[in-house]
Symmetry: C2
Subunit: 119 residues, 2 copies
Amino acid sequence: MITQHPEREQILLENVLSALGNPLRLHVVRVLAAGGEHNCSNVLEGVSKSTLTHHWRVLRESGVIWQRPSGRENLLSLRREDLDARFPGLLDVLLEAVNSGASSVAPHGAQPMADARRG
Amino acid sequence: MITQHPEREQILLENVLSALGNPLRLHVVRVLAAGGEHNCSNVLEGVSKSTLTHHWRVLRESGVIWQRPSGRENLLSLRREDLDARFPGLLDVLLEAVNSGASSVAPHGAQPMADARRG
């Protein structure tokens, strides 16, 4: 497992909100919320490797995702149990808001606008 | 009313999350959640005027608060109806998480650490 994953008790609300305050990272959370591990190269397409690395780091260090190496790739999964324990109801409310179109994440799974890819 | 308040339909989840991804601004939301208008100089004490201006701007432009001038001060209030309409349940979940101690905002109303005052 890559280091820099906080323990459950170290996950802070402000860090999670800051990590999710970005349409690409919200999109990632929605994809991972389906469950299981996802190959990082399949979660966001058409995004440069350095930008991906940035987004994985923000999500990992805030405690939103697990990231572990597997061959030449990394596998990502949502820390759903930890997040639900720390912030009961938060993920469900956020996913519902994304699916209702209250963000610039496309409601039906398309990726958000390219101009939102940094931040 | 100061300009740069988005209309309800323009309030985006990622902007609200980004605005609230900061312990001082989470503290402000908790204070304003009591309801009514608050004089901006009473909401955060011991913070420089330029830092306050920065935080009010982030909260205002993301759609979290109303800010209006009153004499030499500004009055702040939470856009609770708009936020509840756009993101049902979000504010309640966040306030509960703050009150449970899952952030670096002090659970009982004291202000968060000074080193978190920018961002």
